[in-house]
Symmetry: C2
Subunit: 307 residues, 2 copies
């Protein structure tokens, strides 16, 4: 995947663009392109076509991260300086735009008759992401469970859904296959995001490779936190701690104690497991194959992973 | 065209996105989409397909203006507040991104077998624009005639070239048609930009609808100015005037006197006329049609227009 992506990026045909685009691809987990490829193979698609669609998805994903970081003023991304911090805002806007174009250019070179349907899915998905971005900019998050599900659906699960969906499409799957694999992707994404939330409060810093409670410090309403605010009986205390200008070591430990102490982590695990089960169930009728087995194991891994 | 574009924009499916995208389409001259449609018709293409490709080009063009205005910090665009001034930077970045996606989504709905080739041309063109943008950000303009031609080729002529090229492609033109119409578009764009430069110093404020010397005030090296710096014999005086913090009425009149007095406007007209001739020559072998006649007249209009 990395090799294929690296080759695509060369089409940008400008030193700075190429360097910055390469920078932006580094450090990702490549989860989305990975499931695109497996989904395509699970319905008998060709590897080359699958890699092509997967690379385009990853390029679009990278752009949305680059532009998001500008909008949020984030300095760090995947453990390194964000692009706009390293090269300046103007280069970052431009590299994002070039990546968008490259994603579609890349697909236009794919001779597979279903490539245009992938153009359609990816462009539709991008428009939705943009609409979601504006919702984000407009509304403050209200911290309800319903709002949480809606947010992670838009932010993560829809990305996983489109990943498996375009895999199924470019792989030549029929309508039922496309529907099953899209459903699988969506539920996998939900589980994946909840596990991310769990790692943020209950992970091992060493394994995760970054300090805990990053999301909570940024004011994100993660699932364990939402649960703790509702069920721990220590809502006031928790709210006071979260409101601190900077959350130091001491406050962090107190928050962790409250959240872990009330069973919020276990609750979140149960929620994630439900989505894993849904994901596995949705591909129940997919013909048996090595790839199908891989998808089943991947769903388990989404929750069992240590980072 | 406006109607078609308006319908496309509805696919953005978010109130703010739609409002802002509509705002960004207003006040344009629609030159590019117009020549896309005429080019498509000149090779026998269907109007519906042509409008579809033309709308995508205009959407991409609008995005590059929106993002450019953010990068340059421009407050005004087409006589109105620029998008980022009206809605803020974050909304402007997002609307630009959504417009990009919409341009390709729009094409993906076109059943014409050549639609994917249009995806390819437009995405390639967008990558080039991005590369050009970075060149802009990196290098200060050196004011040579060669640099001038290179700059307007990238900034304007390539946009006109891709406009007629995609028209020819979606219209089902053969290789020779595509080449001829692309060549026509490029030369039309060169003439068009030089005429814009001329209007900036020698237009009628009333007709142009904006104050003169906007480009020169912004430090742009327009063709008449480059000529005057070389040939007027008053280089020092001109340079001093251009360096003023703000160029007032008095300085503006002096600059106009120097530039107009040395024959720079006539020189620029001759240069523009050469491109008009080249444009007309390049479609010499195109089969006769109403649209071919229109293209010939349009080339003349590029230089004769008063605004």
């Amino acid at each position: 995947m990395k090799k294929y992506l690296g080759r695509s990026i060369k089409y940008l045909n400008d030193k700075t663009l190429i360097k910055a685009a390469e920078y932006s691809t580094k450090g990702g987990k490549y989860m989305r392109p990975l499931i695109t490829v497996i989904a395509a193979r699970s319905v008998g698609g060709r590897l080359k076509d699958a890699l092509n669609a997967a690379a385009s998805l990853e390029l679009l994903h990278n752009t949305s991260l680059i532009h998001d970081d500008i909008m949020d003023g984030s300095s760090m991304r995947r453990g390194r300086l964000s692009l706009h911090r390293k090269w300046g805002k103007n280069v970052a806007i431009t590299v994002g735009d070039a990546n968008y174009a490259l994603a579609f250019y890349n697909l236009s070179r794919n001779k597979n008759p279903n490539a245009m349907r992938v153009v359609q899915e990816l462009s539709k998905y991008t428009m939705r992401i943009c609409a979601g971005q504006l919702m984000d900019l407009r509304s403050s998050k209200n911290g309800s469970m319903r709002n949480y599900k809606k947010t992670i659906l838009l932010k993560t699960a829809k990305g996983f859904e489109v990943a498996t969906k375009i895999g199924a499409i470019i792989g030549g799957g029929d309508k039922a296959h496309v529907r099953m694999l899209a459903e699988y992707g969506k539920n996998l994404g939900m589980a994946f995001q909840i596990k991310d939330d769990i790692l943020d409060i209950a992970g091992s810093e060493k394994k995760v490779g970054k300090s805990l409670m990053n999301d909570i410090r940024e004011g994100k309403k993660t699932l364990p936190l939402i649960y703790a605010l509702k069920k721990s009986g220590r809502k006031k205390e928790l709210k006071r701690l979260l409101k601190q200008e900077t959350i130091g070591e001491k406050e962090a430990r107190e928050i962790i104690d409250i959240v872990r102490g009330c069973g919020a982590v276990e609750y979140a695990y149960r929620a994630a497991e439900k989505y894993v089960q849904k994901a596995v169930d949705s591909i129940g009728n997919l013909p048996g194959s090595v790839e199908k087995q891989l998808l089943v194991r991947l769903a388990g891994y989404a929750v069992s992973r240590g980072k």
